[in-house]
Symmetry: C2
Subunit: 275 residues, 2 copies
C-alpha cells in the first residue's frame, strides 16, 4: 500500500505545527493560513482562514470558482437521479437539508474542494453564532481550496461557523468534543477532484473514521457516504463501507445504499441513520 | 424446480378458456368472473369483474378490506425509508406518482392483493375513459383479491380502466397491444401475501417478463421492481433482476437499486428508467 494513502502524521503533531505557524488572530500575513482562537466561542477551536490577497492568488490558479449554491428538494434530486439527470451527491445534499437544522453541529470528513462544506455552512450557520461545521481533509490543497471557496461564497457570520483541519478523517474524534452532539457526518471518499489521483482515502482509515463518526453522531443524525469505485482501491473501500454498514444493529441504525446497476463506476451513496 | 413456480399454461389456452366462460358483458352470473369486450373501447380488451353478491362472499372470507389510499410524496417516502419509518413499496409508489399521468397505460405485472393495482388506477383513470391498467397474476386468488379490493375502493369510471388477467407476468407481451405505449410496469415479486408461500415468482419467468416489459415501455417510462429475498429462491430472483438491469445500455436506460444493508432480508427496490 502506498504510504501516501494513510494519515501520515498524528494529530498532536498537527496541532504543534499549526501553533508554530501562527498562534494569534491575524489577516494579511504572508503565510497562507492563520489559525486562531475564536474569542466568541467558549471552546478553543482552531480555524483556518484565507486572506483577501491570498484569495486573489488562489483564484488566479486553478482553484475553485464561486458557485451559486442551489440544493434541490429531495423530490427533484431523487427523480433526477433515477432518470439520469442528477448525481448521487445531489441526492445526498437534498437529504441533508431534511436532517440538518440551523444551529446544528456537523462534520465534513473529507472537504475536497469544499462544495459539501459550503452546503453545510449554509444549512447550519445563523446570526446568533450557533451552528458549527468541522471540515477535515488530509491534503493541505483541499483545505486551501475549501477555504477559498468559503471566502468567496459565504458571509462573515457563516465563515465564523467553520473550522477547517488539515488532518485525516480517521482523527475526527480527537478534534470534536465528545459532549457536542453531531447531526451529520459527510464523507466524499476517493481522490481530490483536480488533484493528485494517487492520493486517495483508503479502507483502513475510512473504517476508523466511520467508527468514530458513529460514536459522535447524535440520535436522529445521519452519516452520508459517497463512495467512488472507478479508481484503483475504490472497490476495496466500498467493501469496507458495506461491511461496516451491515454490522450496524438494525434496532438502532438504518443503513441503506443507492447504486446504479448499469453504470458500474457510478458513485454509490450510502446513508446511515441513527434512530 | 416445483412446476407450480412456472407459468403453467400458454396464453392461447388462457384466452380460449375465458372465451368459453363468458363471451359477453354480464353481471350477476354464477361464475366468479365475467370477461367481456368493452363496447366503449376501440381495442378488444378483456376485463374481469366481480359481482356484488360475490363481493359479499369475498369480504366474508379473509380477503382484503377497503383501505384508505394515501401515497406519500417522494420526500416523505424517501426520508421515511432512510430513517426506517417507510417501506420500499412506499418509495416505489411515491416515485410512480411522478412518472405516471392521467390517461396513461400502465401494467401491474404481479397483482398480489391488488394494492399496487389500486394505486395505479387512482393515478391513470379519468372520467373521459382514458387511462388503462392491465393487472396480471398467475394465481386466481390474487386476481380475486384484487378485483374485490377494486370493487370496494374505486368508482365506476375507475373500474372501467382496469383489465385483470389470470396469467403469468412473462406473458404480458401477448396481452398488451404493441402500439400502446406503456408508461409504467410494476413488479412485486415473491409470493402472494396471505397466500401459499410456496407459490412464488421465479427467475426464469421474471427474466422473460422484464424483457417483455422493457420492449413495451415507452420513452420516459419506468419499470419498478420490488424484490423479496427472505424466502427460498428470493436471492436467485434478485440475481436475475440485477443481471438484467446491469445488461441495459447506459445510453438509453438508468437502472438503480435501493437496498437496506443492515437488514439482509428487507425488500429491495430496483427502478429502470427508459430515457
Amino acid at each position: 500500500m502506498n504510504s501516501h494513502y494513510n494519515c501520515f502524521r498524528p494529530f498532536s503533531h498537527f496541532i504543534m505545527e499549526t501553533l508554530t505557524l501562527a498562534p494569534f488572530p491575524s489577516r494579511g500575513i504572508s503565510s497562507r493560513y492563520s489559525l486562531f482562537r475564536r474569542p466568541s466561542s467558549r471552546r478553543n477551536f482552531w480555524r483556518a482562514q484565507t486572506t483577501v490577497s491570498e484569495l486573489a492568488n488562489l483564484e488566479a490558479q486553478s482553484g475553485p470558482k464561486p458557485i451559486p449554491l442551489e440544493i434541490s428538494s429531495v423530490e427533484e434530486a431523487l427523480m433526477g437521479f433515477i432518470s439520469g439527470r442528477r448525481k448521487a451527491t445531489e441526492v445526498a445534499q437534498a437529504v441533508w437539508k431534511n436532517v440538518v437544522h440551523r444551529g446544528d453541529t456537523v462534520i465534513d470528513a473529507t472537504c475536497g474542494n469544499g462544495h459539501d462544506t459550503l452546503a453545510l455552512v449554509k444549512m447550519v450557520a445563523d446570526k446568533l453564532g450557533k451552528g458549527c461545521v468541522y471540515g477535515l481533509d488530509i491534503q493541505q490543497s483541499a483545505i486551501d481550496n475549501t477555504s477559498s471557496l468559503l471566502e468567496m461564497s459565504t458571509e462573515e457570520h457563516e465563515r465564523k461557523s467553520v473550522q477547517l483541519f488539515n488532518v485525516c478523517h480517521s482523527k475526527m474524534d480527537e478534534i470534536i468534543p465528545k459532549e457536542n452532539p453531531v447531526r451529520l457526518v459527510a464523507f466524499n471518499l476517493g481522490y481530490l477532484p483536480g488533484g493528485d489521483k494517487t492520493l486517495i482515502t483508503v479502507p483502513h482509515t475510512t473504517e476508523m473514521a466511520l467508527r468514530a463518526a458513529s460514536k459522535l453522531l447524535d440520535s436522529k443524525g445521519l452519516i452520508s457516504i459517497i463512495v467512488y469505485v472507478g479508481h484503483p482501491g475504490g472497490r476495496d473501500e466500498l467493501e469496507i463501507v458495506e461491511a461496516f454498514t451491515s454490522s450496524l444493529p438494525a434496532e438502532t441504525w438504518v443503513g441503506c445504499k443507492f447504486q446504479m446497476l448499469n453504470r458500474p463506476v457510478a458513485p454509490i451513496l450510502v446513508l446511515l441513520f441513527k434512530k
